[in-house]
């Protein structure tokens, strides 16, 4: 065997060793993600367990866990739903504007701005909401809505003068999830096959008819899954709600008053820094409930996205 052949074989051996090593490293990082996630679930369950089934004597208040977490779940879902109801139509329109109405150059800039907005820290939205939105609404809108629409249960009660209401929280949350829904919707709208659009226009459709015939059917599942992701984020959003909402204990449907059900995340943020003993475990248990809630929403979002009732699956 010639020396060159020898070294070639050595090289081959070391290469295949390196190959196996590299593959093992990358595989193990995938496995570690698996482990971490299992770890999250196990840890939260173990630590939260004593918060759910532990001695109530050791906790503040006299509620059982279900009584404790019930209003919080209600508040979380309520605030997120409000946000979603406000944000989705607006995000749909904005996405459509960027993808089909705005001039091309402007559209690129707008897309960039929307992405940037998605990354603005929530604490900034929070202090903006309480400084700008809350006084504005409580002066101009809430008294009017309370007087004229008070017969509807949602607008009943004593209108808040500080503006720290469920509606304010919902609106600020809507501003926060709008960029996400917009970004995803815009993406699918832009992916509409050019031929579909041109075929529609060639048959004499107006722009809106073209959008209804070609763009919306194609992008529908994208918009829905975008909205679901937005909902997921609204469920877990903490700081904005913690800063804006004035929380009370119990279930409240009214959105204009100072009495509101708190959200899970905001309740944790407000109580955790001062909590001790079993209260900590109980807060962690509510965190587990939040985790399951947003997990369910995310699974639903994927299912919608993959259900393929339009061309733009995924």
């Amino acid at each position: 065997m010639s020396p060159s052949k020898q070294s070639e074989q050595n090289l081959k051996r070391s290469e295949s060793l390196a190959d196996r090593l590299f593959s093992a490293v990358s595989r193990s990082s995938a496995i570690s993600i698996l482990l971490v996630l299992t770890g999250v679930a196990i840890f939260l369950t173990v630590v939260g367990w004593s918060g759910i089934f532990g001695d109530i004597e050791g906790m503040s208040g006299s509620d059982t866990f279900l009584e404790y977490v019930g209003p919080l779940v209600f508040g979380t879902v309520y605030a997120a739903t409000l946000a979603l109801l406000i944000a989705t139509p607006l995000a749909f329109a904005v996405a459509l504007f960027i993808s089909h109405y705005a001039p091309r150059r402007l559209a690129q800039t707008l897309g960039y701005v929307v992405d940037l907005l998605a990354a603005i820290p929530s604490v900034v939205f929070g202090i903006w909401g309480i400084t700008v939105v809350a006084p504005l609404l409580s002066k101009n809108v809430y008294p009017w809505a309370n007087d004229n629409l008070g017969f509807i249960p949602f607008f009943s009660g004593t209108a808040s003068t500080s503006g720290r209401t469920m509606l304010t929280a919902g609106m600020v949350l809507a501003m926060m999830i709008l960029p996400i829904i917009t970004a995803i919707s815009r993406e699918v709208f832009l992916q509409t096959p050019r031929l579909h659009e041109e075929a529609s226009l060639a048959l004499g459709a107006t722009k809106w008819e073209m959008i209804r015939q070609a763009v919306i059917p194609y992008g529908r599942s994208g918009v829905i899954s975008g909205a679901m992701l937005g909902l997921g984020r609204a469920l877990g959003e903490t700081m904005a709600v913690a800063i804006i909402l004035s929380p009370s204990d119990g279930y409240f449907w009214s959105i204009l008053t100072n009495q509101n059900s708190n959200t899970i995340a905001s309740n944790i943020a407000l109580k955790f820094p001062e909590a001790y003993g079993l209260d900590v475990n109980r807060l962690i248990a509510t965190g587990l409930v939040l985790f399951m809630l947003s997990f369910a929403v995310n699974v639903l979002a994927r299912r919608v996205a993959n259900s393929g009732f339009s061309g733009a699956a995924g």
Partner: protein
């Protein structure tokens, strides 16, 4: 020829231009609505910009639809109405967004002084007195340093882990493990940030004892949020690398790991760095997980393994909800740190934009 066609035009107007709204008309209607909106609202309740805009917008929507219905047909009217609705919705959304930026900048700029960038919240009695008299005291140096340390910890954990996982998924992944990983990364993307914080808290409570707060636990919490973003974006970028490149390299007898390191990664480096920069921008503003893990301190803490560590978002939050006496100074500090945060995010975004252009392989520019 030309004469006849011209006369034909005048005799029987082209069917392409009849029944169409003249092009000046929407503009005229728009002007009219603005005038009516401003004058109308002013005569009822004085200068109320918000109401003027609302009245003008709705008036324009109404008038343009009616005019189009009369001059054109129903389909055109719907088209114009929808165009107007979409544009109005877009404008409506821009207003609060501009307001966010405007408020943060105007309120935050007042604390852009030397004390703010080089001082901490360890306030001397003299400073306290000065504060009572209305001076701006206290700084955010400790919060900025804390943000840097904790974000760096998160990045050190997340970038290798996320990148390697993405490589596994794209280059090696098949079968059950790859499927499970993809699904779990999806789940991870949906973890509420405060839950990530609780998890890190629970883990470090087990290691370091109950009630403990430290920078490292904050970093771990953030890495939990950052990793799935890195995996997702890197995976997407790796999948964009044409298979021909891999095959060419493998056909030349280059080992797979070398192919990945020397061919696949360099080709996708632009997209991957952009994704990582954006992931950092996402986590750098996280407040909730740090509130429960790293807590808040008044002074500089450089050791992530012991003691509380302040970060900018948490600092901003506490200065807002517990501003001290008089509240104005604390609130000014809150806005100051909010502005610093927004600027960091904006800078990271711009860097990502530039990187994605600068690092593109020559052929793709």
């Amino acid at each position: 020829m030309t004469v006849t066609s011209e006369s034909a035009m005048t005799a029987a107007p082209s069917s392409l231009t009849t029944g169409k709204m003249p092009s000046w008309m929407p503009g005229a209607i728009c002007g009219l609505s603005i005038v009516v909106g401003v004058v109308g609202v002013y005569s009822i309740g004085g200068f109320k910009w918000g109401w003027m805009a609302i009245v003008a917008a709705h008036l324009y929507l109404l008038l343009v639809t009616v005019a189009s219905r009369i001059i054109e047909d129903r389909r055109q009217a719907v088209d114009r109405a929808m165009r107007t609705v979409v544009t109005i919705a877009f404008t409506t959304v821009t207003i609060p967004l501009i307001s966010v930026f405007w408020t943060v900048i105007t309120k935050g700029i007042s604390r852009f002084d030397r004390d703010f960038f080089f001082g901490t919240m360890r306030i001397t009695p003299e400073d306290m007195l000065a504060q009572m008299e209305g001076a701006q005291v206290g700084g955010a140096l400790h919060a900025m340093v804390g943000t840097l340390i904790i974000t760096a910890i998160a990045a050190i954990i997340s970038i290798p882990l996320g990148l390697l996982t993405a490589i596994y998924l794209v280059e090696y992944g098949e079968g059950k493990l790859a499927n499970a990983t993809t699904r779990l990364v999806d789940v991870m993307t949906g973890i509420p940030s405060i839950v990530a914080g609780l998890f890190a808290y629970a883990v470090f409570e087990l290691i370091l004892g109950p009630g403990t707060r430290s920078g490292i636990s904050g970093g771990v919490a953030l890495s939990l949020l950052m990793t799935p973003v890195v995996v997702r974006s890197s995976e997407e970028m790796l999948r964009l690398v044409p298979n021909e490149l891999r095959e060419a390299s493998l056909a030349l007898g280059v080992a797979k790991w070398r192919t990945i390191l020397k061919v696949v990664l360099p080709t996708s480096v632009a997209g991957i760095t952009t994704g990582i920069t954006l992931a950092i921008a996402r986590v750098i503003g996280e407040t909730a997980p740090l509130l429960v893990t790293a807590g808040i301190a008044q002074d500089l803490n450089l050791n992530p393994f012991s003691g509380r560590m302040t970060t900018l978002p948490v600092y901003s939050y506490y200065e807002y909800v517990q501003p001290g006496v008089p509240p104005e100074t604390g609130i000014a500090r809150a806005w100051g740190s909010a502005l610093v945060l927004v600027m960091i995010v904006a800078v990271l975004f711009t860097i990502a934009k530039i990187l994605s252009h600068a690092l593109k392989p020559k052929g793709l520019k």
